[in-house]
């Protein structure tokens, strides 16, 4: 029986060598093995030799172990970490341009304020706002903006780091290790 999409979604962060074509290698692997991606974010790390990819993987047709083990075969992939959304600090950025003329501009700004979003650009009859938050906060915000008329919307896909271990907290999901 098919699982709901939220259960199929797993975050994998992949540390890769900063070499030409490395994104194509990862993307090509997902494509040729028939693995599905919900979102992908990539940027250099603090060490210029490496970049980190954060991929939200759809596990509808394949196990997480298989995805990780296939990724590990790529020579430019240095480390792979599985992040259980429950044990990760996960954030995503949303930019949205929304219709907002004099009649409803106040409502839009108020909504943005409720989510602690920011107005980053203002036009005569539209606004561009920014919100950083968890993917589900962004989902909510997007749904509430929709009635005003979304002109353009862009989300970054989530990035994530493992939640820190504290003595009083439960230990986070262990690193995905290869057998």
């Amino acid at each position: 029986m098919a699982q709901p999409a939220s259960h199929r979604r797993h975050l994998v962060t992949i540390l890769v060598e900063n070499k030409a074509g490395v994104l194509a290698r990862v993307a090509g692997l997902f494509s040729r093995r028939g693995f599905n991606i919900f979102s992908l974010a990539v940027a250099p790390t603090d060490d210029e030799r490496f970049s980190r990819l954060t991929i939200a993987v759809d596990l509808e047709s394949v196990s997480l172990e298989q995805v990780i083990r296939q990724l590990d075969k790529l020579v430019n992939v240095v480390a792979i970490e599985e992040l259980d959304p429950a044990d990760a600090t996960e954030r995503e950025l949303l930019l949205a341009t929304v219709s907002a003329d004099a009649s409803n501009r106040g409502q839009v700004i108020e909504l943005s304020g409720c989510f602690e979003g920011r107005i980053v650009d203002v036009g005569h009859d539209s606004l561009t706002m920014m919100l950083a938050g968890t993917p589900s906060q962004l989902d909510d915000f997007e749904a509430l903006l929709r009635p005003f008329g979304i002109i353009a919307l862009q989300r970054s896909g989530p990035v994530a780091l493992k939640r820190l271990v504290r003595a009083d907290a439960q230990s986070p999901a262990s690193l995905a290790r290869l057998a």
């Binding site: 075969k73 790529l74 430019n76 290869l178």
Partner: protein, 575 residues
């Protein structure tokens, strides 16, 4: 010491111990061919780049050393994509050096430009585009390291023409250290112990030996382990020769055209010990029906194979030879600690009864002098030494060769397994003969396959590489014809090739080979003996075989292995 990039590249190949390169020059690789004149490396000039790739594969499969091919940019590189894909599927160590247009021209659709690293990304273990001549010694060392370690496979190094022409300061590359590549060879000890317990308790165990046995040079370890435990062994298409066919524990080939006993023993097993095999669909048949009662122990150097198709009860990532030796120790320890082995005599007796009831069959009573392809394979087998290297293409002839040859030694069988590349046999046989010049090398080929790469016999004649080719000429794309007969109501669509267009004897002679035609059974042995005596040029024998003959047994595609079909002329198939 200042060298050009081209000189550094050739010197790096020499440093890797390369003794032969199969290749064909062209514009972008021209600078590299200049220092080849002064190199001790033998270069074999092929007639098509696909030939270079398959020759390098044949060389690698019989020697265990990486095969090396060199091609130019654009069409040179695209022509070798098939061998790269073939080597990736069959885990063959292959290093391809490709020329590329100058760096400034990359991305401009320059003459003979293509995105070689992009095109080959999915069919190589890794590839490199060299952008600085100074990197060449390190990149070549990395390429050979990646190709030959862990699960072996093909790699490609793309070298722009201006990089070859640039100067660099020569250096010896250090020990290869790649941040993201650390193949794990030793199996987990606890898992090995668990596997040993499972094995000792099993009443109907089968060893499912795959090509990884040959890659890890584990044939001796496998023999010792099978004899220690008394467990019968099936050898997959990629593992023929890894365990001697004459051994009492050898059940032969499983799978779609495997023999009844090998297929059925796996189906009825309670413990499948998969060693360097990957549960290929041609072995498992319908997966949900495959070996349903078996606990599975899966040993593979590639962790991604474990659980990819069938979830094992014990999965051990590691080198086959090392893990088999560890299993051997573990079983011995269990025995000496008093853990009894389950009684397997009923199982072995059942297997014996299957072997007696369902041997491989073909109709030996040839009416009107019809030549049976199986008879040709048996005659070749009987008229050649048992260390003869047999090379096959893909199709009916390949299956008959695998079924009717008797493999006694590892590395005597070369074929295209995973990719199923028609046209593999002729160039692969040439490469095998280059690697093992003192051994008799026979290609058993089909007429359809032969027409795909036959021009490499010109290479073989020019280079004095005396391979033998037996064409089982049934005038059809025989395996396709068989499927159309069995599953498409004898509607034969585009499978007829003609027995005498081309005239294979004239064609062979035009390519500098000896050409022989055989139409009747009594001519078979004299022709083979004549061919075996020719040592200065290739020989091609055009065996005119029975076009109606089919490969049996057969598990139809997608069917359960329980529904194995034996030749209807020889009784009922199935359970």
């Amino acid at each position: 010491m200042q060298l050009t990039g081209a000189q550094a590249l050739v010197k790096s190949l020499e440093a890797q111990g390369v003794e032969v390169i199969f290749g064909l020059p062209g514009g972008a690789i021209l600078p590299v061919y200049d220092p080849m004149i002064d190199s001790p490396i033998r270069h074999i000039l092929v007639r098509h780049e696909q030939g270079a790739g398959h020759m390098a594969e044949g060389y690698a499969q019989v020697t265990g050393r990486p095969g090396v091919a060199m091609v130019t940019s654009g069409p040179g590189a695209t022509n070798i994509v098939t061998p790269l894909a073939n080597a990736a599927m069959d885990s063959t160590p292959l290093v391809v050096i490709a020329g590329q247009v100058a760096r400034a021209s990359i991305g401009t659709d320059a003459f003979q430009e293509c995105d070689t690293t992009g095109i080959t990304m999915g069919v190589t273990k890794h590839n490199w585009l060299v952008t600085d001549a100074q990197d060449l010694p390190a990149v070549i060392a990395e390429a050979f390291y990646v190709a030959t370690t862990g699960r072996p496979g093909p790699v490609l190094v793309d070298v722009p023409k201006d990089v070859s022409n640039a100067t660099m300061d020569w250096y010896e590359p250090g020990v290869v250290d790649l941040a993201g590549y650390h193949p794990r060879e030793v199996g987990d000890k606890d898992l090995v112990r668990q596997a040993a317990h499972l094995i000792q308790r099993s009443e109907r165990p089968v060893i499912y030996a795959g090509g990884g046995i040959l890659k890890s040079r584990a044939s001796k370890a496998l023999l010792a382990f099978a004899e220690l435990t008394g467990i019968p062994v099936v050898t997959t298409l990629m593992a023929r020769g890894a365990f001697p066919d004459s051994h009492a524990l050898c059940l032969g080939m499983p799978g779609m055209h495997g023999n009844y006993t090998a297929v059925t023993a796996m189906q009825r097993s309670d413990c499948l010990i998969a060693l360097g095999s990957r549960f290929d669909d041609r072995v498992t048949g319908k997966l949900s029906e495959f070996a349903k009662d078996a606990k599975v122990i899966h040993v593979d150097i590639d962790p991604a194979e474990i659980g990819k198709v069938r979830m094992p009860d014990v999965g051990i990532a590691g080198d086959c030879r090392l893990v088999i030796e560890a299993l051997d120790d573990s079983v011995r320890a269990l025995v000496s600690s008093g853990e009894a082995q389950a009684d397997r005599s009923p199982w072995l007796a059942t297997i014996r009864s299957w072997q007696e009831e369902h041997p491989l069959h073909y109709d030996r009573e040839t009416s009107e002098g019809v030549l049976k392809p199986q008879f040709v394979v048996e005659s070749l087998r009987d008229a050649t030494p048992d260390d003869t290297i047999v090379v096959a293409g893909v199709g009916q002839h390949q299956m008959w060769a695998s079924q009717y040859w008797r493999f006694e030694h590892p590395y005597t069988w070369v074929n295209s397994g995973g990719l199923g590349t028609m046209g593999f046999a002729v160039p692969a046989a040439i490469g095998a003969k280059v690697g093992m010049p003192d051994r008799l090398v026979w290609a058993i080929d089909g007429d359809g396959c032969f027409q795909m790469t036959a021009q490499e016999l010109v290479t073989a004649s020019a280079e004095r590489i005396p391979v033998k080719v037996a064409i089982l000429n049934n005038a059809y794309l025989g395996m396709v014809r068989q499927w159309q007969e069995m599953f498409y109501e004898e509607r034969y669509s585009e499978v007829y090739l003609s027995p005498d267009l081309p005239d294979y004897v004239l064609w062979a002679e035009a390519m500098g080979c000896v050409g022989i035609r055989v139409e009747h059974p009594e001519e078979v042995l004299p022709a083979i003996e004549k061919a075996n005596d020719v040592d200065d040029r290739p020989v091609v024998i055009d065996f005119r075989t029975d076009a109606m003959e089919k490969v049996y047994p057969m598990v139809p595609a997608g069917a359960s292995n329980d529904d194995i079909v034996v030749d209807p002329r020889f009784g009922q198939g199935g359970r």
